[in-house]
Amino acid sequence: MAIDLTVNGVKHSVDVAPDTPLLWVIREQLRLTGTKFSCGIAQCGACTVHIDDRPVRSCSIPVSSAAGRNITTIEGLSPDTTHPVQLAWIEHDVPQCGYCQSGMIMAVAALLKRHPKPTDADIDAEVTNACRCSTYHRIRQAIHTAAGNLSSQVGKL
């Protein structure tokens, strides 16, 4: 059956079973491969996208529940890799293998919408994506940079 989706501001009509996970529609029908498959059971977060600005694990969301809503993938986060989180990730040279980082960046971008100046406790509580290379040390620094925390602290000194 045809399902209407808006992904990165573009309207699509896809002909898939309604219980198809959103992840596979994004990857296989729309060919947006920045969003990754890893566990398939909403554990690791590699497949994180935004639905109406909220982070979801697209491997475990049926496409039917995303119909008519605004979906954003890593490809749509910024037109030219200039989202503050992307810039901070580059500044801190965060990625190693990089496979989890699309999902991680989407999770952090959503976190910063809810908490523009997250504390370490906020980060610990809300960033639950897994990175097997364990780039977490730089992720934390980059989140603070993205939030402007570091620059505002430096400014006070």
Binding site: Q96, I123, R132, C133, T135, Y136
Partner: protein, 782 residues
Amino acid sequence: MADNASTQLDRRDFLTTAAAATGALVVGFWMPPRANAQIIHPEGAAWAVDPGIPEVNAWVVVAPDDTVTIRIGQTELGQGVWTSNAMMVAEELQCDWGKVRPQYASANRDAREMAPDWTLKVPGRGAQDPYSGGVPEFGERKPDGVNGIPDTLYRRMRTNGVGSVRDGRYYLQLAGAEARERLLLAAAKTWNVPVEQVSSANSVITHGPTGRTTTYGKVAALAAQTPHPHPEAIRIKPPMEWKLMGTEQKNLDVPLKVAGKAEYGIDIFLPGMKWAAVRSCPVYGGNVKSYDFDRIRHEPGVISAIQFPIPDPSLIRGHVFGGGVAVVGETWHQARTALDKMPIEWDVPPEYAARNTANIRADLLASLDEAGKVEVNLGDCDTAFRNAAKIVEATYSVPYLPRARMEPGNATVLVTDNRVDIWLGDQSPQETRRSGSRITGIPETNVYVHLCHLGGGYGRNGNGPQAEQAIYIANKNRGTPIHMLWTREEDFVGTTFRSIGVARLRAALDRDGWPIAMEVRTATDVLAPGQTTGFDVAPRYFAPNYRFSTHSRKFHIPVGTRRGVGAPAQTYYRETFMDELAHAAGKDPYLYRRELIARTNLPYKADMIKALDMAAEMSGWGKPLPKGMARGIALEEHGTQGDGMATISAMVHTVSISRDGKVRVERVDVAHEEGFRLVNPLSVRKQIEGQIVWFFNDAMYQECTVEEGRIAQHNFDQFILSRIRETPPEINIRFFNTGHWMDGMGHDRGTSIQSAIGDAIFQITGKRYRDLPFRNHDLTWS
């Protein structure tokens, strides 16, 4: 010769799945002309060198606009090899680093061209000679091609054994230097001046006497036709002459990775491609007894089912996996959904089905009481134990561990009548090339391995049969590209494991608590790599009488080279035992270690002491900590049993444990050697930071158990990955120079966190646990 070969290459070979980015955000991509683009690539990965641009040598292509393409024989899997190895070429080439683009070297071309003679000779006098390459492991020709380093163009295309920088430095510096010399020769020829009068920097060539300049891009075409008369006379720069090497350089592919544009194997889409979902027998060595395709034949998108045999162990380093079934479908989701519904019965060898963790561990423990294979026997242990004032004995165990990389195993394969194309992330493309040939009967020279980035490697990306399964399935579907993708659950089956292991360490102490004898017995699967790591040749901590024996059994769980290979388990045993001895002697674990290293005559003992001293000082060792906190110190080394290349570090881990048993590493202080000099210190820092958390996982959470012959954990709900909240908030890293070539550090740093947490648990709770992971134990205290 090389130039002719490059123009003969099939165009598609140039469309390797290489992604490139300059240091800046502006990324230039070369898109293949539509008419020739038989292979479709995502925008962010589709650049390649125009075959119209002749290469200077097999590693270096300079375009008229001075863009420099550097071909990398190793795979980028997060260790930064695309950047560090490109730095080694660019250092000698003296080109503009901002215009460098890495590209995967062609494994197919490697099958058809031999290595130039000038890359085969290792100059210098080994690990202590800064003018040498430090004796790469492949210094000698070993033409067997698989177990040794092949004689072919790119030689060591493997990405393993922390060898990419160590082994690459020598020949990649040479490759850059040879290209530079040819570019200088070409400029001198153009100007009709002696080559001694021209020099280059930043891609600009200058004629000294007249000040005339040109650029690499302008003379590259001539350089391609200007062989160097004496390439064997070219010398490479020692560390004190490095300008680019030794500086912190961000990874060239990071801008692509944060945009979701880096191309991994899973991202390959080809015209007409079909998807395969796979289930192989969960008991290794088992096979398909029957399956009922009729039950799913009419499910949406289903095309066919293909049974595949147990993959030929000779193609996958002797590992025995299971036979299985693939369902081929229009989409992977459809294929996988149908496969889940298809009844499959397995034929499982009963002796394997009878295996479980308890009886495997019991077997290994029993093997410790046998004679074993005596690896080292110095002095007279038996007499010393009879004369001991005190004997300390401890038995430790570690579990089976998979890599659990984030990208599930996958490969895309197209087999036609005379050609095999394979797209995958791969740490052993030369071996995969051979598999492509052996399974299809098509010669290796017609096998094209298109390398993609890997979503994590951590030890030969699994040593598993992903390529072999996909080649088999595609060979049954000739003419149709097949993208085979494992589920996470299948990825836990299609991997080798770090072997389960046990160890018994005994020490005879004198009245002052110093060892007069030490005996070490370790037991693993007989095929486990790295069984002698850390205990071989001589004890790192002095004991005048020393015996080390390895013991083993053969089990059916395939064991291989997970990150660190033998070091994580062996460092855990050794360093935990040193803590236990120090406590038994009533001495400080740092000073106890320090004294015992000082008593050895190991060539690098001063560096080991330096590491301990620096880490202790950084951490504030000895300063009081609040209740519920403790520090643990340990040495990490490999190579210190001799005077060759080695890597030495020490870490202090400051650990807190809440009364309800929550363990947190509060800070880690790292003293790490830089050898003569690190190639990319930023990359080393990142590797250290990551490995600390990696081995925190090993210490605290991760294990695979065996039930009825199968691995019981299949996804991240059962096999736990730590998150940011468990990452030490403070990691301090300092480097110190040792004046020898460093051996590599991408896999066995941070292993000290295991013993440090164990000792912190002992210090805080009074309980000594010797079986990993610690989460299996009661860590509460009051």
